[in-house]
């Protein structure tokens, strides 16, 4: 058992090192959500209620980008390049490998959340998070859920060249629907229903409660339940459909 943990830690450290060495990954992980935040902040300057909605929305999107998007990309890339198959031939335990890979994504999600909260505090007139416990629970549940869905989704992507198309075909509509349904009380009912059933809007609500409105865990149990259900389905599909090999070999 200690071996499994030690090897997972080694994998995590390697993943961190590789992350910082890949400038484009670092860019998409950190700069892009901050650019969204800056852009939204410029548009809604002076409109505090809009800013109050912007910050938790960007926070939730950041979690999705650093886990769902990043893992789908990585897994497809490593699978098609034959890296996964090579790792599978070594004594590295599967759980250590994926533990290291997931922990790497969670680290990026956590750093992203810290940046968004700092930006909210110092640039957008939002105070420090009110419910820290609720914040931690939602970030963790959201990250685990989105990471599992990312790994599961990688299975549906046939080759690396089409990864961007597949990922964006999910990421952009989900973000658009969820942001819209969260922001606008006049959104059509069917759109609200779709957004409520997807994991991103419940995550925005949970984070909004924890960061902005001070509504705690107890008031967002239904949101947490939706995230948990997606997470369980994601883990099931990620494990079940996992492919260590690309299509070309």
């Amino acid at each position: 058992m200690p071996d499994v943990v030690a090897l997972g830690w080694r994998q995590y450290r390697l993943e961190r090192r590789m992350f910082w060495r890949n400038p484009s990954a670092a860019f998409f992980n950190f700069l892009l959500p901050l650019l969204f935040l800056a852009g939204g902040g410029a548009i809604f300057a002076g409109n505090q209620s809009a800013l109050d909605k912007l910050v938790p929305s960007i926070a939730a999107m950041s979690i999705m980008a650093t886990t769902f998007t990043a893992l789908a990309y990585n897994i497809v890339f490593l699978r098609e390049r034959g890296v996964l198959k090579r790792i599978r031939g070594t004594p590295l335990p599967t759980i250590s490998y994926f533990g290291g890979v997931a922990a790497n994504a969670f680290t990026n999600a956590a750093m992203q959340i810290v940046l968004v909260i700092l930006a909210g505090r110092f640039l957008f007139g939002i105070g420090w998070p009110v419910h820290w416990l609720s914040l931690v629970v939602f970030v963790l549940a959201g990250a685990v859920c989105m990471a599992a869905l990312g790994v599961a989704f990688a299975h549906a992507i046939p080759n690396f060249e089409s990864t961007a198309a597949y990922v964006n075909a999910v990421f952009l509509p989900v973000v658009a629907i969820s942001f819209y349904a969260f922001d606008s009380s006049s959104a059509p009912g069917f759109l609200k229903a779709i957004a409520d059933a997807l994991p991103l809007k419940p995550l925005i609500e949970g984070l909004s409660g924890a960061i902005v409105h001070g509504s705690g865990l107890g008031e967002h149990l239904d949101a947490l339940a939706v995230i948990a259900l997606w997470g369980i389905a994601g883990i099931f599909l990620a494990v079940r459909g996992f492919s260590w090999e690309g299509s070309r070999s």
């Binding site: 090897l7 080694r10 004594p91 260590w244 070999s249």
Partner: protein, 288 residues
Amino acid sequence: MIGAVNGSPAIEVSGLYKRYGEYEAVRGIDIAVRRGEVFGLLGPNGAGKTTTVEILEGYRARTSGEVSVLGHDPARRSIELRRQIGIVLQSGGIYSHITPREALRHWAGFYPHPRAVEEVLALAGLEDQADVRSRKLSGGQLRRLDFGLALVGDPDLIFLDEPTTGFDPEARRAAWETVRSLRDLGKTIVLTTHYLDEAQALADRVAIMKDGRILAIGAPRELGVGAAHYRVAYRTPGGELVERQTDDPTALLHEITSEALARGEHLEELFVGRPSLEDVYLELTADA
């Protein structure tokens, strides 16, 4: 127990079948690979070589048959077995953003008794590229890193799947030297290749596969000696190529040449030889 395991073959396969739906990739093969030998699996593309090797490596489940690799069933994918084998895949990628030294150091951590990273860098001929990010390495250098990553755990058994495909002649010679040095270290090596000269140069024994079956198995030299040991060929004055096989070339040659002399003919392209591995291979793998 240890003694018994060491005395047994490194790999034992009997009655191995692998089906993909209707398609039978491997159709009942038997192989025993001795410890310390270089065993070549030779055959055209689609013969079932890679499927067979990937079953031995634990990547694929077999449909039926018995398989034992170093005393383990590879389908169980035990960590114990994976600690003792090294695999050079046909197309195994590596992380773009780390160097050979870092990759070898990371891989060494998977194994209980790894070789020193410096030693592996030297063995793989990567001393000069040790600190270059792998995305900047050439194809040949990446292939040498493949070798290094397969060797860093100091495995007893090494699988090489088409290790020199796409190499220039010089790189092939270098790879062959590496394989020979591994054999000199007492490693058991299973090599798949579709290059005859590679099998002839490296393998102690060769199995020739086609359509999921083993057509012949033995030392390359013995395989060259079939039922008919010698081949005598010549062209008649009419231009017809005649080929005859015999166990006794002296008598046959005497018969042919004395008849020709009696008729006052001259035999063009007169040839006496033993069939090469290539002849055997071409004969066995030719489509009927």
